[in-house]
Symmetry: C2
Subunit: 481 residues, 2 copies
């Protein structure tokens, strides 16, 4: 049972959503499986055209969706308007990709005359959708990583059907998005390719269903790992694509700081974007000892205003982690402004420390403080810093600020590339473009499978398995691939 | 501790191999990790040229290798000579692929002007090797799926290093292959990219090592699942590519039987190839009731001679499974000739049953009888047969024998494609060509990850993870990808 909470007031509002009963979860999965027979048999072009209509549907309801999402998440109209645009762009990009044959086209491997190992029959390597997929909506992106977010859109583009779990912090937004899409799918002969349900127990239960062939998740390490364990320990294990959070390192060399004031502003903007509730906020900034940037950051954070948390649980976890960090590092946070409202707020904060301290407490750099808190680590020995980078947990992104001619660039980039899925050059990690070259995933715990991405077109590949047709006559192949 | 056994005599021979101590496993992994730094930094062309020298090295020792492998496995000189050729062909194909940039080339995604979601920075999506990989050698392919088999070759081509567990049924062959390769790697500056160890406990222990980034395995469901569980339940889970065995269906429609005598011969040849110890032998053949093929099979199998098992354990498991099948299906096997030698033999056999019986005992069709035993199921109702196919466990391959104009082809192919990784048309499932279109993998339990293949060039992709470079200047990208 869940009810929306307005983060700006802390007050509950709107309808109460009951947890979906396990019996009803079974019913949704059975319908999803039936829908899969039709949806997977549709051509990529057919699927693409329906997905484009769904994107149009969301766009035409954008204002109403933003309004309810803002009440539920406090993320603000501008950000949410952009997020709806990103979400529908994403759906259309996946549609465009499969329409043009990207990721779904069969690979032809013609007959080769001769004895083995050289000779072989003709092979047509096709890619077939896995089946119904359970998608767990994220807290922090009520559109782009939720009911019709990247996981759902890529699974649908692949030809899978989706049973989506609504995130409890935005049940109304989830329901409205679902209803818009469901009506369009049904109107075009594809009822039940998308289903919506509520409840933690229902989520675990769905992932155990024999008919479910994959899971996708964006959220906390604890929750994601529990679901990964369920998926992996089934009698028939299934792939589970979890994006579990990330402590993202940013390294500034002296050659890359530029204007200290501008650098500090850009850092805090990226750190506090979405109240620090992105998976790509710059969690740890390494700065040369004695840099004027340090004072700039301290001065500027003190003047920053708080923005609301997504939920009371998010604030609680953040505040506890900030406390752990401050205690472990022995350094009181420099706080920004507080908010006397009744809403769910904490002051923005930066904790300053140095490399000698983090060397003694490497575990402190594995604490994801999901919210408006950053850690700034000063260093004087670059090789010690590079050693420290190797101690970091797997992360989604790493950034390097440096002059292109700096002789230390290669060593830092190499160290970052070992621990992350995306390395950015003189740019902040937030802002994850939906594109074919994007990589949003990384070594565990950034993701449960570092071979894949949850953002960008390659996300489709997570839901397709190869099936090769050997020695088939051309007339049959045309009907099969 | 293990010693070779000659399957033709049942007698042990040659040196005793001690299990590698856990301390020594740690040492091997540490060396492998150090070697990874060099090997992963080598260009694909450099790696390819060393791999080609290793292939040359194996070829130049082929006669001696075949001799010892034949003593240890009883597979016979012709088969083993072909297997060495296939193994070195496979190494050269992986080398050729990476040299030409296949699977390892970075993908360029140029800068797009404009506001998000349309605009984005430049991305260069590279593919980076995971790290040291543990490869578990298979029983039934002492070369092609063993120390320097497909798993090792594809991991090395990807830029990973390999710690290989020797299969206890051919420790001498494993050691000789390892020594030939290790000398060549070392001579070219890449010592320790390949390591060899012995022992079950050492294998589990290696898979738990923090430095190990993936596992690959070909073998039994029980052993493979235990290792998959270890890999998945680590604090940092790693991908585990297990090929765990397969009950391969073959469907013959009346239109596809051709000459009954020739069909029966070809079936038995495929069934009994390698004493039925392939993962792709035709486990279950569905034949129209009343077909003259049935009598042909019965007559011909009675005249077939036994060939030795790989090991006493393989024979024991096979004989027990055959007993289970015969009892469950209520049908005594039609046996071929016995062998009075002291070696490890069982008579070839075919168990005949019909669809009404298997419908009542679908579990019987999930029993992999790894050895010289086939099940022939007669059917009179094709739609009941198609329903039965849906009850099968995931398999590596499925075959269909039918006339191209037969109106039932599409329905059967569709049913097979849902349960297997490769569908063959009018051809038997054995004989797995190493090629880019090959798919050797399938829904669990055929493999632990149906998105990948353990044979064919795509196998390289199992050991690479994407790392995207965002916004990097051209001069730097050239050094990085």
């Amino acid at each position: 049972m869940v009810q929306s909470i307005n983060p700006r007031t802390g007050l509950a509002f709107g309808p109460v959503f009951e947890d979906t009963s396990l019996e009803n979860v079974d019913g949704l999965i059975a319908k999803s499986q039936a829908a899969f027979a039709l949806w997977s048999a549709a051509t990529p072009a057919e699927r693409a055209s329906v997905l484009e209509l769904v994107a149009d549907g969301l766009d035409s309801h954008a204002a109403a969706l933003v309004e309810v999402a803002d009440l539920e998440t406090g993320l603000g109209s501008p950000r949410l308007t952009g997020e709806v645009a990103r979400t529908t762009f994403q759906i259309r990009e996946f549609a465009k990709a499969i329409k043009s044959g990207q990721f779904v086209t069969a690979q032809s491997d013609p007959f080769v005359e001769g004895a083995p190992p050289v000779g072989h029959p003709e092979f047509i390597r096709t890619l077939q959708p896995l089946g119904p997929v359970v998608v767990f909506g994220a807290n922090n992106f009520p559109f782009a990583f939720s009911v019709l977010g990247g996981d759902t859109a890529s699974a649908l583009a692949a030809g899978c059907t989706v049973i989506a779990k609504a995130h409890p912090s935005h049940p109304q937004t989830s329901t409205q998005v679902y209803e818009i899409a469901a009506e369009i799918f049904a109107a075009h002969g594809f009822a039940d390719v998308l289903a919506l349900f509520h409840g933690v127990e229902a989520g675990s239960y769905a992932l155990k269903s024999e008919a479910v062939m994959a899971g996708a998740f964006t959220g906390s390490l604890r929750g994601g790992r529990a679901l990964f364990d369920i998926a992996s320990s089934r009698e028939v294990p299934i792939p589970f694509y979890g994006e579990l959070g990330s402590v993202n390192p940013v390294v500034a060399l002296a050659s890359g700081l530029g204007d200290p004031k501008g650098f500090a502003t850009a850092y805090l903007d990226s750190l506090l974007l979405g109240n620090g509730q992105f998976c790509t906020n710059p969690s740890i900034l390494f700065v040369p000892a004695g840099s004027p940037v340090l004072q700039e950051i301290a001065d500027q954070v003190a003047a920053r205003k708080p923005t609301p948390f997504l939920s009371p649980a998010t604030k609680k976890a953040h505040d506890a982690q900030r406390e752990v960090l401050a205690t472990t590092l022995g350094s009181a946070p420099i706080l920004g402004e507080s908010n006397s409202d009744t809403g769910i707020y904490s002051a923005p904060a930066v904790i300053f420390t140095d490399l000698e301290i983090t060397q003694k407490n490497p575990a402190a750099l594995r604490v994801e403080c999901f919210g408006p808190t950053g850690v700034v680590v000063t260093y004087s020995d670059l090789s010690a810093l590079i050693e420290q980078l190797a101690e970091l947990e797997g992360a989604l992104t790493g950034s390097l600020f440096a002059g292109a001619e700096d002789e230390n660039v290669a060593a830092v980039v190499k160290a970052l590339a070992k621990r992350v899925g995306r390395v950015s050059w003189n740019s902040w990690p937030t802002g994850v473009a939906v594109s074919v070259g994007q990589q949003h995933g990384g070594p565990y715990p950034a993701s449960t499978n570092s071979l894949h991405t949850s953002v960008g077109l390659h996300a489709i590949s997570r839901f397709l398995r190869p099936v090769t047709f050997q020695n088939f006559p051309a007339t049959l192949v045309a009907r099969l691939s």
